[in-house]
């Protein structure tokens, strides 16, 4: 008797719950009113700040852009919750907790350094389950060992192999007759990662080129003196120098190398991030990448959305564009907007975090770097184009003679390991 009664109770309860679920589902079709909450966890103090300048202001700018020019997301205005991670992984975990558990944000953009990203990503996957767009955190470790099968974690910055393929191809394309090359990078994991993948790819494509000098300078000292490296570099006389210094390091490097005459002594210089500062003098003809200091606005994208974004950044920050912070923030916001609207259009329901995460993967948008797609949780731009810096008459720095490497040559397919893919690079075509 007791058994049967229990069973009836269970059946009734199940039916009731299913009904409630259906009602709830129907109610989910409506778009909630009020602003949509998006969290930003960015370094705004500590060492990382001088390397990610004015990250907070750039987050505000991206949100303001979405509200002002794109009509918000699904007609709802975006409300930003911007917190300071202090560049510290442990603080980042606490800050993410507050954003997700206390403020109830629906998605998070954040984490610049690989360390903070690596502390955050496993927790997002296992516990918080909220779409999280990492701004950089680009060491290969992220999607190989830390979160091998990501569901909620996405990355906007290009991974190290992707960008190195672009960089090697650009160097080979701009100076086909090079014999020797020198590399310099900041001394932290990303720097070592990027130099080793560059060397590996270069060995594959042009085994005859010799790497004559590789150095790693202290990372983020804020007032560095690079004279020792610069003189050493001039002694070795490479045909090409590829420099990965960024943020304040990049600014100081540019000033010092220019004053000591490095730019006139080495035939081709590729300043990947060619530093940004207020009052900075860039150098004509030096190669730069899409994230690079003064030239995040390649000519093919001068219309949408950059013609609106650039004045906003210039007005609030005073310099263009502060190490791609503006690029990353707006790219992330545009992904989110597209995902919300696509998910809503397809299902007629206000998207849950899971739906949102599924929708973000595979999206294509037009962002500050042109057309960019999210493939296997990895955004394809920035990091796909290299060009020569040139100052236009109106004072804006742009890139000329752009070399754009197509995505299919840069993205490691899921059935290959990174090393296998690099090994096949020569066959895929130049």
């Amino acid at each position: 008797m007791v058994m049967r009664r229990t069973r009836t109770l269970v059946v009734i309860l199940t039916v009731v719950m299913l009904l409630m679920g259906a009602v709830g589902g129907a109610a989910g079709g409506e778009i909630p009113s009020g602003p949509i909450k998006i969290g930003f966890a960015v370094p705004m103090s500590g060492t990382a700040t001088s390397l990610a300048p004015d990250a907070g202001i750039n987050a505000e700018i991206a949100v303001e852009y979405i509200n002002k020019y794109e009509g918000g997301i699904l007609g709802r205005p975006v409300k930003a919750y911007i917190y300071d991670t202090k560049g510290d992984p442990q603080t980042a975990v606490d800050v993410f907790g507050k954003l997700i558990e206390n403020d109830g944000v629906e998605a998070v953009l954040g984490c610049l350094s690989s360390g903070t990203g690596l502390a955050i990503a496993p927790r997002v996957e296992s516990k918080w389950k909220i779409p999280t767009l990492l701004l950089e955190a680009t060491t290969m470790q992220m999607f190989t060992t830390a979160v091998p099968n990501p569901k909620y974690v996405f990355r906007i910055g290009p991974d190290d192999v992707m960008q190195s393929i672009t960089h090697v191809k650009a160097v080979l394309g701009k100076k086909p007759d090079l014999k020797t090359i020198a590399l310099g990078a900041p001394d932290y994991e990303w720097g070592h990662d990027v130099v080793s993948s560059f060397t590996k790819i270069l060995k594959q494509l042009r085994p005859d080129v010799e790497v004559v000098y590789t150095f790693f300078h202290p990372f983020g000292e804020a007032s560095p003196n690079f004279a020792a490296y610069i003189t050493e570099l001039m002694q070795r006389k490479p045909d090409v120098y590829v420099g990965y210094s960024w943020g304040t390091d990049g600014v100081a490097w540019h000033n010092q190398a220019r004053a000591m005459g490095l730019y006139s002594r080495i035939p081709l210089i590729f300043d990947v991030f060619s530093g940004t500062a207020k009052g900075q003098l860039a150098t004509e003809g030096v190669l730069g990448e899409t994230r690079a200091g003064n030239c995040m606005f390649p000519p093919h994208a001068l219309g949408y959305p950059n013609s609106k974004l650039a004045p906003m950044i210039l007005e609030r920050v005073g310099a263009l564009p502060t190490y791609g912070m503006g690029v990353h923030m707006l790219t992330g916001m545009l992904y989110l907007k597209a995902a919300y609207e696509k998910a809503y259009d397809l299902t007629g329901q206000y998207p849950t975090p899971e739906m949102l995460a599924k929708t973000i993967d595979g999206l294509s948008i037009i962002g500050p770097c042109g057309i960019t797609s999210m493939i296997n949780h990895q955004s394809t731009a920035p990091g796909m184009a290299v060009g020569k810096l040139h100052q236009r008459e109106d004072g804006l720095w742009i890139m000329e003679d752009m070399l754009i490497v197509p995505d299919y040559l840069r993205i490691v397919p899921p059935w290959m390991t990174v090393d296998e893919f690099i090994g096949k690079l020569g066959e895929i075509g130049q």
Binding site: S45, D84, P89, V93, D94, E101, S114, L118, A121, P122
Partner: protein, 340 residues
């Protein structure tokens, strides 16, 4: 003189009051995770784990009148021991093995460092602490094959106790028990002849030496006690974030414990506890309330506390405000008299 007043306070009725206060506070800490969201629990857990290293600073300060900036070395050692053994080169995540191991390593390293750090005093001791911390930091930062460099070590498994896997909640209670245990141990130590000898040393070096106190040995012992506290906390900190990076070795991190101790008030035994909670909580709240201005706010608060109440700290302010009600409670207990 300090000793007499202190033993005078060891009357049974006072102990009862203190015992009640301790039990009530512990009960609150034990029950709180049931009512708050997870991030608040993580934050409280962080406060709890900040107590032992802050006590280390407190011991060196209140007994020897020195500023101990090198606590982050031991936090880092403990954290990396957990990260290696329960993460990168997985051997075990058993806390009963990791905690004693970290304790032994911290004591060993503190013994060696103490030999030359503790010979210096004042400003030189402080700078020496920073210099040694930075040397450790750059070692960890540069040995990237082993330590993961700036990326740190992220795949730390959850800890287990007696072979049972602990969840986040379980780890919270372990942290509570460990820091409570260390607090009680520190209380015992501060009421032992050891602390009297240290006070004698900081009072008058020559006198202390002439009555047969092994000055250098005792100083080194104080350094070891401080380091061991931090080493134990380091293991649990690593588990509570499942991540360890070289920032745990940075001297700025060690400086935070000094600030926490000063804010809490170095004249009181509860100072480090109050300081850890106030500093971590205040820093987190202010930096999320005013993300652009928090440095100014925190800086001004600390500076004002130091200028106005000095060594009394927040505990002193609270005591002044509620002097009568708290008179017989825990806060009243002074652990040293400055003899001025």
């Amino acid at each position: 003189m300090g000793a007499n007043t202190r033993t005078g306070r060891m009357m049974p009725s006072y102990i009862d009051d203190r015992l009640i206060a301790t039990i009530v506070l512990t009960a609150i800490a034990a029950v709180i995770p049931l009512f708050v969201s997870e991030y608040v629990r993580t934050l409280i857990q962080r406060c709890l784990l900040w107590i032992p290293p802050t006590f280390g600073v407190y011991i060196i300060y209140s007994l020897l009148r020195q500023v101990h900036f090198a606590q982050s070395i031991f936090i880092g050692l403990g954290s990396y021991i957990a990260a290696f053994l329960a993460g990168k080169y997985f051997v075990t995540s058993e806390l009963l093995i990791l905690l004693p191991l970290s304790l032994i390593v911290s004591i060993g390293v503190a013994y060696v460092l103490g030999i030359f750090i503790m010979r210096r005093t004042g400003f030189y001791f402080a700078i020496m602490g920073i210099a040694v911390t930075m040397a450790f930091w750059s070692l960890v930062y540069k040995m990237r094959q082993i330590t993961g460099g700036s990326d740190g070590i992220s795949d730390i498994k959850n800890p287990s106790l007696f072979g049972i896997q602990l969840g986040d909640q379980g780890l919270y209670y372990v942290s509570l028990v460990v820091s409570l245990g260390l607090i009680l141990l520190m209380r015992r130590i501060l009421h032992s002849p050891f602390s009297l000898q240290l006070r004698a040393i900081s009072g008058d070096l020559q006198k202390a030496e002439s009555i047969g106190i092994p000055v250098n040995g005792m100083r080194r012992l104080a350094f070891i006690v401080a380091g061991a506290n931090a080493g134990v906390a380091g293991v649990l900190l690593a588990f509570s974030y499942n991540y360890v990076g070289p920032t745990t070795f940075a001297w700025e991190f060690g400086a935070h414990f000094v600030q926490a101790a000063i804010i809490g008030g170095v004249n009181y035994f509860v100072g480090p506890i109050v300081g850890a909670f106030v500093f971590v909580g205040l820093e987190f709240l202010v930096s999320t309330w005013f993300p652009n201005l928090w440095e100014v706010v925190i800086g001004v608060i600390v500076a004002v506390i130091v200028v106005t109440v000095g060594e009394e700290g927040v505990t002193g302010i609270v005591k002044d405000l509620f002097g009568r009600t708290l008179k017989r409670a825990n806060l009243e207990e002074r652990t040293y008299s400055d003899g001025k």
